[in-house]
């Protein structure tokens, strides 16, 4: 639901000023922060948010994919399901977790755990942080496209409350696969984009070194995503970025998440699902020409929610 700037301005109480100036340098700084190696990952948030957590593994089909961590936990005395993309902090863990690039098995594990959430009526919380789904021949053979597509569909079908939070880098179909929630939020220094800056520059500029230029063009920042109606809230980070203080970052995230779940739990499941569908129907920006004369632009403004 891409909205005009004025529309976004009218939303009060969001921590990010919609018109924070965003120069190429500023955007690149955010891109760097979003990928900072000390930035909290799902496994950093989970012990801070949950009083108990039990990891669940495997898609029941082919293998366990460590690029996605999934499990059940106790959040403010509620059972919840948490699904997070885990990049890995050191070289060894990064290799093990494939840099947070999941194969189809990761999304299928996510769906299996969502089915458990649906059974027990537990909210689903996704923590998004991935450069994208893994580009590999074997992943394609086992249906990478279909896995992402069915994960999107599964999230649309859930009747339990769902909250998706981009905590780091949310790039490409690998991110939206876990992003189709009742409330979508971004951390202040996270990014959400159709592709990583490197991927975009390689394709559009035919030069992988143009990634700063690509980042500036994609404008993948929380402020913009909020302005475009892609996310509902921007979660502030501790001064200097979430990596400076994991505890404080988790506490801020906790506050927004708890508020969202508290609101969502008031809505009946079928209505919540309906609203979720409406929410994702509205997103986009296009022009609609006059019917009779297709050359005249009638409405230059982007389509969006009221």
């Amino acid at each position: 639901m891409s909205t005009s700037a004025g529309d976004a301005m009218r939303r009060i109480g969001n921590a990010i000023t919609p018109h924070e100036p965003q120069s190429t340098d500023q955007i690149w700084e955010i891109v760097q922060l979003a990928r900072h190696q000390d930035r909290p990952y799902p496994l950093d948030y989970i012990p801070r948010l949950l009083s108990d957590f039990e990891e669940l593994r495997g898609d029941r089909l082919y293998r366990d994919d460590p690029a996605i961590v999934a499990g059940i936990g106790r959040y403010h005395d509620m059972p919840v399901v948490v699904i997070g993309q885990q990049k890995g902090r050191d070289t060894q863990e990064r290799t093990y977790r494939n840099f947070g690039m999941s194969g189809p098995e990761g999304y299928r594990k996510a769906m299996r755990v969502m089915a458990l959430a649906e059974k027990i009526g537990a909210p689903v919380i996704t923590l998004i942080d991935t450069p994208g789904a893994f580009p590999g021949a074997d992943a394609e053979q086992r249906g990478q496209g279909g896995a992402i597509a069915t994960s999107i569909r599964t999230m649309l079908r859930l009747s339990v409350p769902t909250v998706a939070i981009v905590v780091g880098e949310g790039s490409s179909g690998g991110a939206i696969a876990l992003g189709v929630a009742d409330r979508v939020m971004m951390l202040q220094n996270s990014t959400y984009s159709v592709i990583s800056p490197e991927g975009g520059s390689a394709i559009l500029w035919r030069d992988a070194a143009k990634s700063q230029l690509a980042a500036a063009a994609f404008q993948p920042t929380a402020a913009n995503c909020y302005r475009w109606g892609v996310v509902d809230s921007v979660i502030p980070e501790p001064d200097g970025g979430a990596h400076r203080d994991h505890d404080a970052a988790a506490e801020l995230l906790d506050r927004y998440l708890l508020r969202a779940l508290t609101e969502l739990r008031e809505i009946p499941g079928s209505e919540r699902r309906r609203q979720r569908h409406v929410r994702f129907r509205r997103i986009g920006s296009y022009r609609e020409l006059a019917l009779a004369d297709t050359s005249a632009v009638v409405s230059g403004q982007t389509k969006g929610p009221p």
Binding site: A137, G145, G146, A149, T150, R153, I176, S285, L289, T294
Partner: protein
């Protein structure tokens, strides 16, 4: 070529087809009405790569194309449907906000008219020039397919060369029935990206329709010249009953006499009671 559906008569190679010609083909070159041609790309990010996005769109529109997806009402043979075809000639068939919105409207229209939806994909993926808004068309189009799910209306997905990226990873993979054209590349990541990332040489048949059939990802590889026939059959099979309940009872009554006698002749061993019931056309139980 046009009458041969742009398939080479000598080697069977399937050439690319524009969105409008696709719908011509589905309609067997009868007339059909284009839906929502007034939807046009905006430039929400004021995007420029090697060329401004608006410029790219202008150039594509100058070729007479409206957008990367063309939708229409038509009939395939005797089966009415809503059809949508992607146009690789329009910015590589990339899915931006217009593609998402048009496809969503096509889904709603098919659901409302209770006729099947046919979508022919040919796309490099999400339209990068619309940034994250293009990514969001993946979820938007799946919402459309969910509307069809709730309305119990079938959707047939046809994958033409190439069906990749965010298109393959959203609606295109969610057909009730999914066909691919011979030789079509069907893949989420592009072969070049995969080779660069994994430093492995891909097999020559990587991601091709025929490979994806073996991989269980599509129902069949269908020659474009036979596509209409197949689509019509699927739609005929999945159509509602012409009259929900009566035919069964009627058929039962009508067939009673002749069928029962044949059956009874075929089954001399069955109990006398059953044979008598069958002879009276009462059915076996």
């Amino acid at each position: 070529m046009r009458r041969n559906f742009r398939v080479c008569t000598s080697c069977g190679h399937h050439f690319k087809v524009s969105g409008k010609e696709r719908l011509d083909q589905l309609a067997n070159f009868e007339s059909w009405n284009e839906l929502w041609p007034e939807l046009r790309a905006a430039d929400p990010l004021q995007f420029t790569d090697l060329e401004p996005y608006t410029k790219r769109v202008e150039k594509a529109e100058a070729k007479g194309l409206t957008e990367a997806l063309v939708a229409g009402d038509l009939s395939v043979g005797r089966q009415p449907c809503v059809a949508a075809a992607m146009d690789f000639g329009f910015l590589g068939g990339s899915m931006g906000s217009v593609v998402g919105e048009k496809l969503l409207r096509a889904c709603d229209r098919a659901a409302e008219r209770r006729v099947p939806l046919i979508v022919i994909s040919a796309s490099g993926g999400a339209r990068m020039q619309e940034g994250v808004l293009a990514l969001m068309q993946m979820s938007k189009t799946v919402v459309g397919f969910e509307a069809l799910h709730e309305a119990a209306v079938p959707v047939i997905s046809v994958l033409a060369h190439p069906t990749t990226g965010g298109v393959w990873a959203s609606f295109a993979a969610l057909g009730d029935v999914t066909y691919a054209e011979p030789g079509a590349l069907v893949s989420f990541s592009g072969p070049r990206v995969i080779e660069q990332t994994t430093r492995e040489k891909l097999a020559p048949d990587f991601g091709l329709a025929e490979t994806q059939l073996r991989n269980g990802q599509v129902d069949d590889v269908v020659d474009r010249r036979e596509l209409n026939e197949r689509l019509e059959r699927v739609m005929r099979i999945l159509s509602r009953e012409s009259s929900p309940e009566p035919p069964l009872a009627m058929q039962w009554a009508q067939q009673g006499a002749s069928r029962a006698q044949r059956a009874a002749r075929a089954v001399p061993r069955m109990s006398r009671r059953i044979r008598e019931r069958l002879r009276r056309g009462e059915g076996p139980q």
